[in-house]
């Protein structure tokens, strides 16, 4: 039997190291797009009130407002005014507009005449601390539901901000909340619109 040489040992060690670091190269797939969906047919959407999983009750409304303006500013789809969405929700007798069932989505689509509705969740928003360092962070996810079938056709998520190496070194306190909210919303929209 052939003895294991020093060079072989080195190769094995190198292989182990590569295998250990390989998961780091994997793409973070946070977006799902229904391959059968014709997004070109979506001309207008309704953005429902977001769910906020944070302590501050108005955070969800802040993020929703930024998202609506950003989506409208792309010029790709028309976003219904929030007052009209609230009226449609009341008329469709939807008790929880942030979590729609397929039937409710279809009913709402018929009332406010939109091709899709978007629901979202703000998972994290505000300051995070690690030792003496602090920074701002936002984490949110979205779902688009087609109003014809009540099916989810697009889901995506984004996290921005947090404590970076520069924050640790310089203690800068991170970027302003408004800026990172815009970036996170940009991430979400760019996963659907080029």
């Amino acid at each position: 039997m052939k003895a294991v040489t020093k060079s072989d040992r080195l190769k094995i060690l190198l292989l182990i190291i590569i295998l250990l670091f390989l998961p780091a190269c994997a793409g973070r797939r946070t977006t799902y797009i229904d391959p059968n969906m014709d997004f070109g047919a979506v001309k207008s959407v309704a953005v429902m009130p977001f769910v906020g999983l944070t302590r501050d009750p108005v955070v969800a409304e802040r993020v929703r407002d930024v998202f609506i303006n950003k989506l409208l500013a792309t010029g790709a789809v028309y976003v219904l005014p929030v007052g009209e969405v609230a009226r449609g929700t009341a008329r469709a007798e939807i008790s929880n507009p942030s979590a729609l069932s397929p039937e409710e989505t279809i009913k709402l689509g018929g009332i406010i005449k939109v091709q899709a509705v978007i629901i979202g969740t703000v998972r994290e928003y505000g300051e995070v601390r690690s030792g003496t360092v602090s920074s701002n962070v936002i984490s949110l996810s979205l779902q688009m539901i087609e109003t014809q079938t009540g099916k989810i056709v697009w889901t995506t998520a984004s996290t921005r901000g947090g404590i970076s190496i520069w924050d640790r070194l310089l203690g800068s306190g991170g970027k302003p909340m408004n800026k990172i909210t815009e970036r996170a919303v940009n991430d979400l929209i760019s996963s659907l619109i080029k």
Binding site: I33, F39, G40, V42, P49, V58, E61, R62, D65, V66, I68, N69, K70, L72, A73, T74, G75, A76, V77, Y78, V79, P81, V82, G83, E84, V85, A86, R87, A90, N178, E182, L192, I193, K194
Partner: protein, 413 residues
């Protein structure tokens, strides 16, 4: 005893006439004197920086067209404020400018007769009554937005003059947001610590603007333009917006998620003032819009729905309805702090029933300030005013520079 002639001679002897050889000394003495004066003037220049030029007398109103009534001041501060004193000072200043102000007793009788409780606006019925019963030309409506007597004091006030008669309209509108430390200058010589002095300055500014209007001069501070840092951060402009058209606009109260009271009304007043100043909008008196909301029993849950907008268009014959959401509207008291304003605005158009303009703006008082507080804004009112000015300007800018307009390269994947 030394005679005056002797004194004169003595003086002359102190500064003997210069000889030809002394010409260089004379020139250098002159330049030294001039340079000293210039340095002193430059040192004291910051003291007067930022101050509005308020003449002692100010422009006088034209006679025969200005019998007005000064409504009790609407307190939007959310706290106790010296509104009676402010109104008294306001009336005194108007009288000093030669304006005929309706007597207090008459106003009280009229308010009792028509059961006027709301003083932040005027509806058609009251406007007609004021014209018929007491023959006044206009109603001066003042809304106190912010008042703090903590050192340095701060005051924000919005005023408008509304015509009386069958169809009341906003004739003039202006506002002021001042802080005692707006222009402290060298050694804090320009610092205003007395709230009454600041109040006087604020009222002088407002009254001078009103007198300029009444005397037929240019209205308000129309030439002042907002800095680029106050531009909306996200905006959408519909291609249906016509650049050469004057729109009639109804401003709905803004939906507020901020902690401060009456922010929705304050934002509406700022929009009324700044949109009117652009010259592209004919702004409907907010009191009339409020009356329509009450008559139609419109309850806005999160904003104006299309059904509500349709009713408003019909009742007020408006082309646009402005609505929006105020996220932050923060002033601060004392020395430490900065104002913070964040809001979004939408304009819904009558013909297409679509959003014609949508924007999201946010700013803080120290945005873009790096050295010696230069460019710092101390009141939310002054900052909001500039933020809305920027919206008004961008709305009618060259369409090619817009974001999200027709022809933009965005497409769905």
């Amino acid at each position: 005893m030394i005679s005056s002639a002797a004194l004169l001679n003595k003086k002359i002897s102190l500064f003997p006439p210069l000889q030809r050889g002394d010409e260089r000394i004379s020139r250098s003495r002159f330049f030294f004197g001039a340079a000293s004066m210039l340095v002193v003037a430059l040192l004291f220049l910051p003291v007067v920086a930022g101050g509005e030029e308020v003449g002692r007398d100010g422009p006088k109103a034209n006679k025969g067209r200005n019998r007005i009534v000064v409504y009790p001041i609407e307190n939007l501060t959310g706290a106790a404020a010296p509104i009676k004193e402010i109104r008294k000072m306001c009336i005194e200043k108007l009288k000093a400018h030669g304006v005929d102000v309706l007597e207090e007793e008459l106003l009280e009788q009229l308010m009792a007769k028509y059961r006027v409780r709301y003083t932040g606006g005027i509806n058609r019925e009251i406007a007609k009554a004021l014209k018929q019963d007491v023959d006044v030309e206009g109603i001066l409506i003042n809304s106190l937005e912010f008042y703090s007597d903590a050192n340095p004091p701060k005051i924000s006030l919005i005023s408008r003059l509304v015509s009386t008669g069958e169809d009341p309209s906003i004739l003039w509108m202006d506002g002021v947001g001042l802080a005692g430390d707006d222009s402290p200058g060298i050694l804090d010589l320009g610092l205003i610590e007395d709230p009454n002095l600041l109040m006087d300055k604020a009222l002088k500014t407002i009254m001078n603007s009103l007198m300029r209007y009444l005397s037929g001069g240019p209205e308000g501070r129309a030439g002042q333009s907002a800095k680029k840092k106050f531009n909306p951060k996200i905006f959408y402009r519909s291609p249906v917006l016509e650049f050469n058209r004057k729109y009639t606009v109804a401003i709905a109260p803004f939906f507020s998620i901020s902690d401060r009271k009456y922010v929705g009304e304050i934002m509406g007043l700022h929009f009324a003032r700044e949109l009117k100043r652009t010259g592209n909008f004919n702004v409907i008196e907010p009191g009339i819009v409020r009356q329509v909301f009450l008559e139609l029993r419109i309850v806005m849950e999160q904003g104006v729905s299309l059904a509500n907008a349709e009713l408003i268009f019909g009742m007020l014959n408006a082309d646009l309805v402005v609505s929006g959401e105020v996220i932050d509207y923060e002033d601060y008291q004392g020395i430490w702090g900065k104002p913070k304003v964040s809001f979004s605005a939408q304009l819904i158009e009558r013909r297409t029933r679509e959003v014609m303009w949508s924007s999201h703006s946010y700013n803080e008082g120290d945005d873009g300030v790096f050295f010696f507080d230069r460019g710092r804004v101390n009141t939310a009112s002054a900052m909001t005013s500039q933020m809305i000015q920027a919206i008004g300007r961008m709305m009618f800018e060259d369409s090619k520079r817009g974001q999200g307009v027709a022809g933009s390269r965005t497409r769905v994947k």
